[in-house]
């Protein structure tokens, strides 16, 4: 690889080995990426917390898929099949938009294993209302 002083003005990068139009028809993990595609990089070290997916509670509504900024919700054949931990930054948007009760996605410590996390899953909460962000007298903190 060239360093930045060597590469020509107007660099062109190719994300795919072969014909791009063909490759675009496939799912991410069946494509042949070159090392220039950021798909081959990882941002897993950005995370402090990670979302964990619980298949038992999930209703496959795909809110998390459409609202994930990092394209790291894996969906295959109309089923939500987990989270791509190479590309997830742990922002928590998916947990926030999950509509089930209890939530089928929750944030856990990044070092916790999935089994541990699933064992800690909360029960259905009664009388759960959507949080109101009405603020009394100013900024309410995070």
């Amino acid at each position: 690889m060239k360093n930045w002083q060597e590469f020509e003005a107007g660099a062109v990068l190719f994300p795919f080995e072969k014909q791009g139009q063909e490759e675009l028809g496939k799912h991410n993990n069946e494509r042949t990426y070159t090392t220039n595609s950021s798909f081959t990089a990882s941002v897993a070290n950005w995370r402090v917390e990670k979302p964990v997916h619980n298949k038992e509670v999930c209703i496959n509504c795909f809110n998390c898929w459409v609202y994930c900024p990092d394209a790291s919700i894996l969906s295959r054949e109309g089923k939500m099949s987990g989270i791509d931990y190479e590309h997830c930054k742990g922002c928590g948007v998916c947990v926030d938009v999950c509509p089930t009760n209890p939530k089928s996605l929750l944030m856990f410590d990044n070092l916790e294993s999935e089994q541990e996390a699933l064992a800690k899953w909360p029960q259905k909460a009664e009388g759960l209302k959507k949080k109101s962000y009405r603020t009394e007298g100013g900024y309410n903190g995070f």
């Binding site: 990068l13 394209a71 969906s75």
Partner: protein
């Protein structure tokens, strides 16, 4: 062709064209909007991009997050770059050198590149009538360089160049009304979108991309870093923004016919929206309360104006 998305289940089967591992902050609205645009497009698409968060974070040498042809030149000319590409395709078609399907031409720009720096360039593109869509990702500041004020920053927001303190209450000027300015060019389609209404978003993107001629879309893109809220609340923020009408959702055809596409069932006070963001925290001091009232008056007046325009069909 752009897909019409009826259910998210069918939408989630579409191939991803914007890859992960870009460097946008966790919970950034840009990623949500760009994915929604690209994943709905079937067939070829060519993208232009102005300098800004999106460009800087998605194309750091030697990596690129784009699976489709994408070009970046300068801060101000994402729109003109793509208008040149569009003219090239038309010329090649005329000469018989290109026989494929004509791609969709889309330019992305941040609010700095659309409201301030690339303003006249976009205006030129719209006036020349290129077959392209310009999408402004409006996060209400220059987030990439540390949160300076832009023409899009609302009144009262504390930014790094308009800091709130003992004397100042933040930015003193009102937000520029870009969509209405762009609609005044008489272009076929102008719209405002927010990422929390994915169906409405898809409908407007489909209309814009499938319409022949220049179209302009202004998209609210919540920014956890500079609005200063927790990264998981991106969708809550846009919910609040459209429900308190500080960011109304509407579309304008041919600069004439305005249609409001979302009327909140219960309109929230602007206070609620300001209260969850730390950039407005200082407005809740006693001496700054009049700014909140002024903002509320502004928002009400604009909503009134939009409704009148819709009724009068002008």
């Amino acid at each position: 062709m752009v897909k019409e998305v009826k259910t998210l289940k069918s939408f989630s089967q579409s191939a991803e064209k914007f890859e992960g591992s870009h460097l946008l902050c966790p919970g950034c609205g840009h990623g949500i909007i760009v994915r929604e645009v690209l994943n709905a497009v079937d067939g070829p698409i060519v993208l232009g991009n102005s300098t800004g968060c999106l460009e800087v974070c998605s194309a750091v040498y030697p990596h690129t997050s784009w699976d489709v042809p994408w070009i970046h030149i300068g801060f101000e000319n994402g729109s003109t770059a793509i208008s040149g590409v569009e003219s090239m395709y038309k010329a090649l078609e005329r000469k018989g050198k290109y026989k494929g399907q004509r791609p969709k031409f889309v330019a992305f720009g941040g609010d700095g590149a659309s409201y301030d720096i690339g303003f006249q360039f976009i205006s030129g593109c719209l006036e020349r009538g290129h077959d392209m869509t310009y999408i402004c990702l409006d996060n209400e500041n220059y987030a990439n360089t540390g949160g300076q004020r832009s023409g899009s920053t609302p009144m009262g927001a504390s930014t790094s160049t308009t800091p709130a303190g003992k004397v100042s209450f933040g930015k003193k000027e009102r937000k520029k009304d870009l969509p209405l300015i762009m609609a005044a060019h008489g272009i076929p389609y102008t719209a405002q979108i927010a990422p929390n209404k994915w169906k409405d978003m898809n409908k407007k993107i489909k209309t814009a991309l499938d319409t022949e001629g220049p179209c302009f879309i202004n998209a609210l893109s919540p920014c956890p870093t500079e609005w200063k809220y927790h990264s998981s609340l991106a969708i809550e923020m846009t919910d609040l923004a459209v429900d308190c009408l500080i960011f109304p959702l509407f579309e304008i055809f041919h600069g004439q016919e305005l249609k409001i596409t979302y009327r909140p069932r219960n309109v929230l006070p602007v206070r609620d929206y300001l209260g969850v963001q730390k950039r407005f925290a200082h407005l809740f001091k006693k001496e700054n309360e009049h700014i909140i009232e002024a903002l509320q008056k502004d928002v009400d007046a604009r909503w009134e104006y939009l409704q009148r325009r819709e009724e009068a069909k002008v």
